[in-house]
C-alpha cells in the first residue's frame, strides 16, 4: 500500500474525528449511584426505616402529622452494606416523593431534608435519586400514617 495514501487517509480520519468532537463535546461523565439499599434516619442518627434488598421496607417510617416538617436524612448502602459517601456529589439529587404529589412534599436541605405531609390518613412515599437527567435509584413505596393537623399548622420556617 502506498504510504502517502495511508497517511492522507489518517489525516482525513483525524480531521473528521476532531470536527465531530467539536460538534458533540465530550460530556463530563459522573458515575451512577451504585446503591443497594436505603436507610431513613433522624438527624441524630436514629434509624426509622430501611429497605431490604430494595424490595421491601423494614421499620415503621417517619411519624408524620399534617403540616409538620419532619427532618430526615437518607443514607445509601452498597451491596456489602457499607455506607456510601455522597459528599460533594451535586449531580445526585436525593428526593422523597409521595404517591399523591399533593399529599406532601420533600424539601431538600444541605444535609438531608424535611418531609411535610398535607393529607391525613394512609399515604405512600418512596425515595428516589436523580442523576443528571435520569433516575439512578427508586425504592419501593413505604406506607405511612399521617396524623391530623396540629393547632400550630403554619408556614415552615425558612431553612
Amino acid at each position: 500500500m502506498n504510504p502517502t495514501a495511508v497517511i492522507r487517509g489518517l489525516v482525513v480520519a483525524s480531521a473528521l474525528v476532531l470536527t465531530t468532537a467539536c460538534e458533540h463535546p465530550i460530556a463530563v461523565v459522573t458515575p451512577h449511584l451504585e446503591a443497594a439499599d436505603v436507610i431513613l434516619r433522624t438527624p441524630d442518627g436514629v434509624e426509622i426505616a430501611r429497605t431490604i434488598d430494595n424490595r421491601r421496607w423494614s421499620g415503621a417510617g417517619p411519624a408524620l402529622g399534617v403540616g409538620d416538617g419532619v427532618p430526615l436524612e437518607v443514607r445509601f448502602l452498597d451491596f456489602q452494606g457499607r455506607v456510601l459517601d455522597l459528599g460533594g456529589r451535586s449531580d445526585l439529587q436525593v428526593r422523597l416523593e409521595f404517591e399523591d404529589p399533593s399529599a406532601g412534599v420533600w424539601e431538600p436541605l444541605s444535609r438531608g431534608g424535611r418531609l411535610f405531609a398535607f393529607a391525613a390518613g394512609p399515604q405512600r412515599l418512596r425515595v428516589l435519586v436523580r442523576h443528571l437527567d435520569h433516575v439512578d435509584l427508586v425504592t419501593p413505596w413505604l406506607g405511612v400514617e399521617v396524623a391530623p393537623p396540629s393547632a400550630t399548622f403554619s408556614h415552615p420556617e425558612s431553612p
Binding site: 504510504p3 502517502t4 497517511i7 492522507r8 489518517l10 489525516v11 483525524s14 480531521a15 476532531l18 470536527t19 468532537a21 467539536c22 463535546p25 403540616g67 451535586s90 439529587q93 428526593r95 404529589p101 399533593s102 399529599a103 406532601g104 412534599v105 420533600w106 424539601e107 431538600p108 436541605l109 444541605s110 411535610f116 398535607f118 393529607a119 436523580r130 393537623p149 399548622f153 403554619s154 408556614h155 415552615p156 425558612s158 431553612p159
Partner: protein, 161 residues
C-alpha cells in the same frame, strides 16, 4: 521511498497541527448555548403580604402555600435570573429579585390544579390566592412571552386549611 515516508509524515503532522488548532480554536468560542433575547428566569420567589418567603430552587420548592378556607393570601411574584448551587438551599439575595412590572411583553399564568379548592386572581406582578375548600392541591407558575413559555416553576404544594 525511504525519504518519502518521513517527509510525508512531516507534512501530515503539520496538516494535523493546523487542523487541530483551527478546530479547537473554533470549539473554544462555541459552547453552543442558545442565545435568548430577553429575560432569563431560573427561579421564582413568592413574597406574601406578611413577609413570608416561598421560593423554588431548580426542581423543588422551599416552603409551600397555606391559606385558610374563606381567606386570601396576597402574594408578590419575584423572579431570579440564576439558581443557586444545587446544594445551596438559601434563597437568592434580594438584590437579584425582579418582577415583570417593567416587562409588559411577558405574562404570568397561574394555574391551580383543583380550582374547587382555591383560586388565583392577579396580574404579572402580584396576585391573591383565595381558599375555597379545605384540601391540598398544586399550583403552577408559568411565564410566557407571546406563545412561548419562558419559565415554568415546579408545581407548588398548596394547602387550604
Amino acid at each position: 521511498m525511504k525519504n518519502r515516508v518521513p517527509r510525508a509524515l512531516r507534512r501530515a503532522t503539520t496538516l494535523l497541527a493546523v487542523a487541530a488548532t483551527a478546530v479547537l480554536s473554533a470549539c473554544g468560542e462555541s459552547v453552543t448555548e442558545p442565545t435568548v433575547d430577553g429575560l432569563v428566569i431560573a427561579d421564582i420567589v413568592l413574597e406574601t403580604a406578611d413577609g413570608e418567603i416561598i421560593y423554588s430552587h431548580i426542581d423543588h420548592w422551599h416552603g409551600f402555600a397555606i391559606v385558610d378556607r374563606g381567606s386570601a393570601l396576597d402574594v408578590t411574584v419575584h423572579f431570579v435570573p440564576r439558581s443557586t448551587h444545587p446544594d445551596d438551599h438559601d434563597v437568592a439575595s434580594r438584590d437579584q429579585w425582579f418582577t415583570l412590572r417593567d416587562h409588559p411583553e411577558y405574562g404570568l399564568d397561574v394555574v391551580i390544579e383543583d380550582p374547587a379548592l382555591a383560586t388565583w386572581a392577579g396580574d404579572r406582578v402580584s396576585g391573591r390566592l383565595t381558599g375555597s375548600q379545605s384540601g391540598t392541591t398544586r399550583t403552577s407558575f408559568v411565564v410566557r412571552r407571546g406563545g412561548t413559555t419562558i419559565f415554568e416553576a415546579p408545581p407548588l404544594n398548596t394547602v387550604v386549611r
